[in-house]
């Protein structure tokens, strides 16, 4: 275990980086192939190998360059794009449209996503039942498997789930990187409390209606996944809300503010994950001995997790999603991944390596299925 080392770089030599990548290489190979690689389908084999190598190159580069955020963002954004593509492809294959019908709801055939989880809690406690028309255990995106994945990721990564696991977050993360400079410079960070209000509202209304009201009326990502068949004024209004919120909070505001506004202002699951930051052992620490209060970290934080007061105290707030942007930006290397209980500036390499391994393994395996599907579709076009 390393002692306090001032201003240390996270860069590693080529050989050391390879060594650190080896366990990820083995684990992702076993998990992606199921331990029994099947190379009978050429397009499938190329897709699997491309995804597998791509993932491991990213992880290798995280060690080799000592940088996190940009490399994470590549995978995070690719995950969001490929998952939407995969979902749409699945729906078009099954239903010939992105829209779902009343029959799909009646037959409980809706794929489940983690954003529904906040609305399930009260009804599960009071009615002993699940209020989402999906499959409990069988088929694509079952309720059980998604809840297990989210629970584990939230326990281990805290709000890190929002930057290392959420398959929608890549959308506004991507749009927030499009411009070099912010157009809207001053954003009141009081809005970061808004997801708690949304959480309260959707939890209560969903319990009373026994229907997931966020999915029915608010979710911006319906615009890039599936939405109710437009059959009347109500369904047309819903489609309008989905598209407007997607356009406003996922595209326009992130481009103008360079912040992840959907995640920071609306997402009810983000509110729960904020609380899970209290449980996770991993955090981001500011070494006050190295910090020169330039506040560049406050400017670049996409989740409103850092204020001047937080920097002065040497702690990030509970809104931190551990994306690594502040860490990569800090000119004095004063910010690092840390473990709770361990003072800032101590065991920084161990903390970073442990956090990166856990978080990267989660997103690598979680995203691989949809990335392979997209690559396979592409290879099928050319082979």
């Amino acid at each position: 275990m390393d002692e306090t080392i001032k201003n240390q770089t996270m860069k590693k030599s080529f050989g050391k980086s390879l060594l650190y990548t080896l366990p990820m290489f083995l684990l992702t190979f076993i998990l992606l192939t199921g331990g029994k690689p099947d190379f009978s389908d050429r397009a499938g084999t190329y897709a699997l190998l491309t995804t597998f190598l791509g993932l491991n190159v990213l992880y290798f580069l995280m060690h080799f360059t000592g940088k996190t955020d940009k490399l994470r963002a590549v995978l995070f954004i690719v995950f969001a794009l490929t998952l939407s593509f995969t979902l749409i492809k699945n729906m078009v294959d099954l239903r010939h449209t992105m829209m779902y019908s009343q029959a799909d709801i009646l037959e409980c055939k809706m794929p489940f996503c983690h954003l529904v989880i906040p609305m399930l809690i009260l009804p599960a406690a009071f009615t002993q039942s699940i209020i989402y028309p999906g499959s409990i255990l069988q088929g694509f995106a079952s309720i059980s498997s998604m809840v297990v994945l989210w629970l584990a990721a939230s326990l281990i990564l805290g709000r890190g789930f929002c930057s290392w696991g959420c398959f929608y977050g890549g959308w506004d993360d991507g749009f927030s990187r499009l411009r070099k400079k912010r157009v809207i410079r001053k954003v009141n960070d009081i809005w970061k409390w808004m997801p708690f209000a949304v959480l309260l509202m959707v939890a209560i209304t969903s319990a009373l209606a026994l229907s997931p009201t966020y999915c029915d009326w608010i979710c911006p990502f319906k615009a890039v996944t599936e939405f109710e068949q437009v059959t009347g004024v109500e369904s047309a209004a819903k489609a309008g809300i989905f598209i407007s919120l997607f356009g406003g909070l996922v595209v326009v505001l992130p481009v103008l503010t360079k912040k992840r506004t959907q995640c920071s202002y609306l997402c009810p699951l983000g509110a729960i994950n904020t609380l899970s930051n209290k449980v996770t052992p991993f955090t981001v620490k500011i070494d006050r001995q190295l910090c020169n209060d330039c506040l560049k970290c406050v400017q670049v934080c996409p989740m409103f997790a850092l204020t001047k007061e937080d920097v002065e105290k040497g702690n990030v707030s509970i809104f931190c999603s551990k994306c690594g942007k502040c860490i990569d930006t800090c000119p004095n290397k004063a910010i690092n991944y840390g473990i709770k209980g361990v003072p800032a500036g101590r065991m920084v390499k161990f903390s970073r390596n442990t956090f990166l391994f856990a978080s990267f393994l989660f997103i690598a395996v979680f995203s691989a299925g949809s990335i392979i599907t997209v690559f396979k579709s592409l290879f099928n076009l050319f082979i």
């Binding site: 684990l27 998990l31 019908s101 009343q102 029959a103 709801i105 009646l106 037959e107 409980c108 009260l122 009804p123 599960a124 406690a125 009071f126 009615t127 002993q128 039942s129 699940i130 209020i131 989402y132 028309p133 409990i136 255990l137 079952s142 309720i143 059980s144 498997s145 809840v147 297990v148 994945l149 584990a152 326990l155 281990i156 319990a207 009373l208 026994l210 229907s211 996770t280 052992p281 991993f282 473990i339 709770k340 209980g341 361990v342 003072p343 065991m347 903390s351 442990t354 956090f355 391994f357 856990a358 393994l361 989660f362 395996v365």
Partner: protein, 150 residues
């Protein structure tokens, strides 16, 4: 005290790392375990309730489900009864339904499947209107709104 905090933090981090490594290997078992918990079943408002009567007909089977009045806290005043037709659905459906099994018919439902039109003849004052009538992958489903008599 600081050493205890530090050691606890490191142990907790290593436990989390271990959980992450076994997570995907054991996802099937964890999910199956979760699915066995008492609250992991779909609400009757979604499934339509349990099937309580079945009538085998020439081309299809008529299934009448238990009326659903489930609310967040107790039963609601308004609910529905769901009727499923499974199999080859004829162009015209006309069935008399006694959903509460009191030997007196509650309503007659008529459906023209080609035109997707439905009509309801209420024989019991608690029967209100047709909420849903739609084709499904297995046949046809109709939900008829009713008032809770309790």
């Amino acid at each position: 005290m600081n050493k205890i905090k530090m050691t606890t933090g490191i142990i907790w981090a290593l436990v989390c790392l271990f959980v992450m490594i076994i997570l995907y290997f054991s996802l099937g078992n964890f999910s199956a375990g979760l699915a066995k918990l008492p609250f992991m079943k779909l609400n009757p408002n979604l499934t339509g309730g349990e099937i309580v009567q079945q009538r085998v007909m020439d081309n299809c089977t008529l299934m009448i489900r238990q009326p659903v009045f489930d609310g967040f806290l107790g039963e609601r005043r308004k609910g529905f009864v769901q009727i499923d037709w499974k199999g080859n659905i004829p162009g015209k459906i006309r069935d008399t339904i006694d959903y509460n099994m009191d030997s007196s018919p509650d309503f007659i439902i008529g459906i023209e499947t080609a035109e997707n039109t439905a009509n309801l003849e209420a024989l019991n004052p608690v029967v209100r209107n047709i909420e849903i009538s739609t084709r499904t992958s297995f046949g046809w489903v109709a939900r008829v709104n009713i008032i809770n008599e309790k």
